[in-house]
């Protein structure tokens, strides 16, 4: 017998907010006569997939991409709304750890309960129980009731109980690394070993290294559809890149919402700052890294405010303040009216990325810092000479000297 898993245009549609009666009548009906739900959410959309013996499939995707639903359908827990699934072989699934844990029973008895849930006879559990107990590292606690355990101990016990399964088709759903760092490493190693025993393995994980280590094939699921299928290294890389750019785009929207000039107290005003770059100080919104950088700010304020502060900040996409400089306006100006202020950076150390420049005119007092006016603008830093591989945070000048010892 050859093992295989075959999915043919499999879709799963969940009803959202439909009545129980509607659910029930729909459930009773045959596939093809099914009515459409009034409101629905497509969790898995037309997935076609064929797995052969020896394949170890990793499934990656963001939260809500339909990974778990897909696993549940292959396991047989959930039925697809449309499409066909053929599985040849006995499916063992580990979707959650410690399903059958009984608080009142001791660790040892719980191992027997787990065996019962998995359809094992007592004799079969007897054969592996010493190994399980040794793996859980619970020592004398193994004979204490579970309610006396810490969360970590429970997790360790729960994990240990899966280690003796003998899978044909194995389905594992993420977050299987439990306990402290040491145990976690041991657990990961054991998962690898179990996966090797399985004829077909399907693994969902958010850990890209786990996918790369264990799997020999990987699919990237997005909004219920397979958008990439191939070698794990290639797929995980594409996934990480896309997630990053999506995250940045979302941040940019929030980031950009600050942009603009604002006058909060009449008489005060900051114009949009002008940025100049390079030896020749050209106006630009794209600034080259590791070059001279100059910020020119034009501000207007009445002179009589002698506790006026000017505050200049450079902020990264994730709202981290990278640079801040506050100074007393009276130290630099002696009359009211429009002023031009220049901040010069001999060398801009920031790495290539998008930044925001915030300028504020505000009260100097410590208690309630009344803001008179502010201005925000976005600028981008680029570099012509990126270091190979990594992306350092700062382009800091260092002198390198090599001495022969």
């Amino acid at each position: 017998m050859s093992y295989y898993v075959e999915l043919n245009a499999v879709s799963k549609i969940f009803s959202v907010g439909s009545s129980v009666i509607e659910d029930f009548t729909n459930a009773m009906k045959h596939h093809d006569t099914k009515e459409k739900y009034s409101k629905e959410k497509v969790a898995v959309n037309q997935v076609t997939l064929k797995l052969h013996e020896g394949e170890c499939l990793g499934i990656i995707g963001r939260n809500g991409a339909g990974k778990s639903t897909l696993l549940r359908m292959i396991t047989g827990i959930t039925k697809p709304t449309s499409g066909k699934i053929h599985v040849n072989g006995k499916v063992t699934s580990i979707l959650t750890l410690g399903i059958g844990l009984r608080e009142e029973l001791s660790g040892r008895e719980n191992i027997y309960v787990d065996g019962e849930i998995n359809g094992k006879s007592r004799a079969e559990v007897d054969k592996v129980i010493d190994e399980v107990i040794a793996f859980a590292e619970l020592d004398k606690f193994i004979d204490y009731p579970l309610r006396t355990y810490s969360t970590g101990m429970k997790a360790r016990l729960a994990f240990s109980m899966i280690t003796y399964i003998d899978p044909e088709i194995l389905i594992i759903d993420e977050t299987l690394s439990v306990g402290d760092a040491l145990f976690s490493a041991k657990a990961t190693a054991r998962i690898l070993e179990i996966c090797k025993r399985g004829k077909i393995v399907i693994l969902v994980s958010h850990g890209m290294s786990a996918i790369n280590d264990i799997c020999n094939r990987c699919i990237y699921l997005k909004d219920g559809s397979v958008i990439m299928d191939g070698r794990p290294e290639a797929v995980t890389k594409a996934y990480i890149d896309e997630v990053k750019s999506e995250d940045e785009a979302a941040l940019m929207v929030r980031f950009g919402s600050h942009v603009g000039n604002q006058t909060l107290v009449p008489g005060y005003m900051i114009e949009k700052p002008v940025m100049l770059t390079g030896e020749t100080l050209l106006k630009a919104i794209r600034i080259e890294s590791a070059q001279k950088f100059l910020i020119r700010i034009v501000a207007k304020f009445p002179y009589e405010t002698n506790d006026l502060m000017c505050c200049v900040r450079i902020i990264r996409l994730d709202e981290l303040i990278l640079f801040q400089r506050d100074f007393n306006v009276v130290d630099y100006f002696s009359s009211s009216g429009e002023h031009c202020l220049e901040l010069e950076f001999p060398i801009l150390h920031l790495r290539p990325a998008v930044y925001r420049l915030d300028v504020e005119l505000r009260e100097r007092s410590v208690v309630n810092k009344l803001i008179y006016a502010r201005s925000s603008s976005i600028f981008e830093v680029y570099s012509l000479s990126r270091p190979a591989g990594g992306q350092p945070m700062l382009y800091y000048p260092v002198s390198i000297k090599v001495n022969l010892i």
């Binding site: 969940f14 009803s15 129980v20 659910d23 029930f24 729909n26 459930a27 009773m28 045959h30 549940r72 396991t75 047989g76 827990i77 959930t78 039925k79 697809p80 499916v91 063992t92 699934s93 979707l95 959650t96 399903i99 059958g100 009984r102 009142e104 029973l105 309960v113 065996g115 019962e116 849930i117 359809g119 094992k120 006879s121 389905i171």
Partner: protein
């Protein structure tokens, strides 16, 4: 070996589930499983005391007052098992959310396993009953060897009901609240506490279609009348149960793919 889509592995899982059911029921109480025996005995003892020594009801043609108690328990003992099976069985899928949502196994085993928890009540009741018969000087004949047949039919009938109820309960939880009341109505609509002859004509008529009645009568035929149960009664319940069971199994298997999103 494959029967109705179940194989040998499923049979073992069924036995495991039954064992877990019984153990979980009394988990944490210091007397543990002993309660499964103590509870029905307590109940039946109260009935014996009230109807045997306080109200001294006599059924026509009997000499001792214990006769009514024996007659009552021969119908009410199996009913205790029925209540237990249906109540535990109906909530079996809803109560095993963790397993249903996370494990690959035949969920239809849950109500079937739960049905058999009633067996304990039945066995305890029957032992209590036979002790009472011997105490009151009654006779026990070879007919009791027909009891396993009646018990088997009763449990096929119960399994058929629970497989339906357990699936419906996932969609309509209210059924679990409603069930004790329905069971109480069935108890009094079925000639268990009163002889069949005392029932109103309409109930008499309905009783012929009531499997609970036929089951109670079969027990009484064997235990009280030392006779063979009515063949037609037995056949009626058996055929009805099998049909309902196989149909229920089909419906259950069709609907179980939706449990996941409702539990």
């Amino acid at each position: 070996m494959n029967l109705l889509g179940f194989n040998r592995f499923d049979l073992r899982l069924l036995i495991n589930l039954l064992r877990m059911n019984i153990r979980d029921r009394y988990l944490g109480s210091s007397l543990g499983i002993l309660w499964a025996i103590v509870n029905p005995i307590f109940m039946l003892s109260i009935f014996t005391y009230i109807f045997g020594f306080v109200f001294k009801i006599k059924i026509p043609g009997s000499e001792t007052t214990l006769d009514y108690v024996i007659w009552l328990i021969s119908g009410y003992g199996p009913w205790l098992a029925t209540t237990e099976s249906i109540m535990v069985g109906a909530g079996s899928v809803v109560g095993a959310t963790g397993m249903v949502k996370n494990m690959a196994f035949k969920t239809e085993l849950l109500p079937i396993a739960a049905t058999f928890t009633g067996l304990i009540n039945l066995v305890v009741s029957l032992i209590f009953l036979f002790a009472l018969i011997i105490f009151s000087g009654g006779s026990i004949t070879w007919h009791i060897f027909l009891l396993p047949l009646v018990i088997m039919i009763q449990f096929i009938w119960l399994a058929a009901i629970t497989i339906w109820l357990s699936a419906i309960a996932v969609f309509v939880r209210d059924i679990l609240q409603l069930l004790p009341n329905i069971l109480l109505v069935i108890l009094f609509a079925t000639p268990i506490f009163y002889p069949f002859e005392n029932m109103p004509d309409i109930i008499k008529l309905i009783s012929y279609a009531n499997p609970f009645f036929h089951i109670a009568e079969s027990y009484r035929a064997i235990i009280i009348n030392n006779n063979t149960p009515n063949l037609w009664s037995i056949l009626f319940v058996l055929v009805l149960s099998l049909m309902l069971f196989i149909w229920g199994l089909k419906v259950f298997r069709r609907t179980k793919g939706y449990f996941d999103s409702l539990l």
